[in-house]
């Protein structure tokens, strides 16, 4: 004890006892920058450098190719179906789970998260087992000439599976945090359930909802593994943008593959930008309490 007492005052006043020395600090920051550069920044930069490797004309030629355009259309179509479905159902799930106490609530919450712990390839496989030629409903579908696997419905189903939890898992904690006093007050004052939802619930959760929709959309447009299993890779018909990247890459058309990849990379950057903006501006109205 005595030697602590004598040592303490000798420590210089400007060096905080709960901080590292400037050299260690610099080394740690350097290490973090190096880690993020090796794994994140270099690959991201490569996408754009390779995409413009043969000049802007080759880049634009790939993007205006009819197969690329149809991949863009299909990607938008798939997102336009699965994002609203998952948003409405995710909000319904959040309403049931965050506002009511019922038997099996925690089981239901776990089941909603289930798609995140299943490999995307397995997500695609389960639909092949159901609707494929040798699947459970295969003979029935063939008899009625309905195509699901190797067609657009299969892609929509597989994408909806993998993007299933995004909205619900953002809204559930947010609505639990907010509690239901506002809504009860609205009802007491005579609002109809519909009016309560539009004027109280929705304004309260709008930023959290946008956050969930944003992540859901990014994954829906970028999903590869699940969609690759069910699509059949028919160019111009069942290729989404990520599948088109794969097809061009396998043709050794690197510039083309990276050009299409650059659209998806831009989408990712846009998503990250909006997401970060939401976290900075509306941190209090999101389920997460993250420091920025």
């Amino acid at each position: 004890m005595a030697d602590i007492a004598t040592r303490a005052p000798t420590q210089s006043r400007d060096r905080d006892a709960t901080a590292e020395s400037p050299a260690i600090r610099a080394a740690m920051i350097g290490a973090a920058v190096a880690i993020l550069s090796l794994f994140l920044f270099l690959p991201l930069a490569t996408v754009f450098i390779e995409a413009f490797g043969k000049g802007i004309d080759a880049y634009l030629a790939t993007l205006s190719d009819s197969n690329t355009l149809s991949a863009i259309r299909l990607t938008l179509l798939v997102a336009a179906i699965c994002v609203p479905v998952n948003t409405v159902c995710g909000a319904a799930a959040a309403w049931a789970i965050a506002r009511f106490d019922f038997v099996g609530k925690s089981l239901l919450t776990t089941l909603i998260d289930l798609p995140f712990s299943v490999s995307p390839v397995i997500a695609g496989l389960v639909y092949v087992l159901l609707f494929g030629a040798r699947g459970l409903f295969g003979p029935f579908l063939q008899a009625h000439d309905i195509e699901i696997i190797f067609a657009v419905p299969g892609i929509v189903l597989a994408t909806t599976f993998v993007t299933f939890p995004f909205v619900a898992r953002e809204l559930i904690p947010l609505m639990q945090q907010q509690g239901s006093y506002d809504e009860q007050a609205a009802l007491t004052l005579g609002a109809s359930p519909f009016r309560m939802f539009w004027t109280v619930t929705l304004p309260n959760i709008k930023w959290g909802l946008l956050y969930g929709v944003l992540l859901c959309n990014a994954r829906a447009m970028g999903e590869f593994g699940a969609v690759a299993v069910v699509s059949g890779h028919i160019r111009g018909f069942t290729n989404t943008l990520p599948l088109h990247v794969d097809a061009l890459y396998n043709d050794y058309d690197m510039t083309g593959a990276f050009a299409v990849a650059s659209i998806l990379a831009l989408l990712a950057l846009l998503t990250l930008g909006v997401k970060t903006l939401l976290e900075w501006r509306f941190a209090g109205e999101l389920a997460l309490r993250r420091r920025h």
Binding site: F39, L42, F102, S119, I122, K275, R290
Partner: protein
Amino acid sequence: MNAPATFVRPSPLPGFGPALGATLLWLGLLVLIPLAALVWRASGLGLSGILAIASQPRVAAALRLSFGLSLLAAALNVILGGIVAWVLTRYEFPGRRLLDAAVDLPFALPTAVAGIALTAVYARNGWIGGFFDRFGVKIAFTPLGIFIALVFIGLPFMVRSVEPVLAEIDPEIEEASATLGASRLTTIFRVVLPPLTTAFVTGFALSLARAVGEYGSVVFISGNIPFVSEIAPLLIFVRLAEYDTAGATAVATIMLALSFAMLLLINLAQSWARRRTGNG
């Protein structure tokens, strides 16, 4: 405590029925019935059938590779993610917010894009691959390349698990430790890190679960050589392409079973760590 005697506790709020109904319909049609189809198919094979497929050399090699490398990648992410989380929560420096936002890039970047980009960087003619090639180390198209892709995909899980817990540690306990004469290193290892154990275990579990099933960011860099660099999710593809539905089902079932077993183990470790440190 106040266990509901009825199915749902009475509430003044409307809409429970429709909301739960929509949820169950959505969950049942999209997730539960399809997964049940997998279980149904697998039960048709029987346990012995599944085990026979699991012990086929090529299947066993793919499973070993996938699970082994995923464990290693999650382990490396404990260190890398720990450093990144530490720097982002503890230090103020120009560009910190940008770095913090960039951590989520693997979440936002489509896996196929990440896959071809990582391959380009780590191939022999790439920026980093070229550097290592001079020392005779090949990264892309070897298990090492798969490892790199799995670290990439797991890193944000670790950082995002550790960051909030690290930010909430009260500086006073560190001050107390320093006042009592502990060196900075002792304080970090004996005072700061122990309460982070559960966060690290969570990050490890999430990173592992994602890596085991990962496909898009791995298939381009892996080279896909059977017995050497063929991952389990790819083998499902191969079996489907061969019209071997039973084989694909068996591999998928084994992957799911192993994943759930590992997550269960990790949950046990989690509650053990929580009891030991008295920290959620």
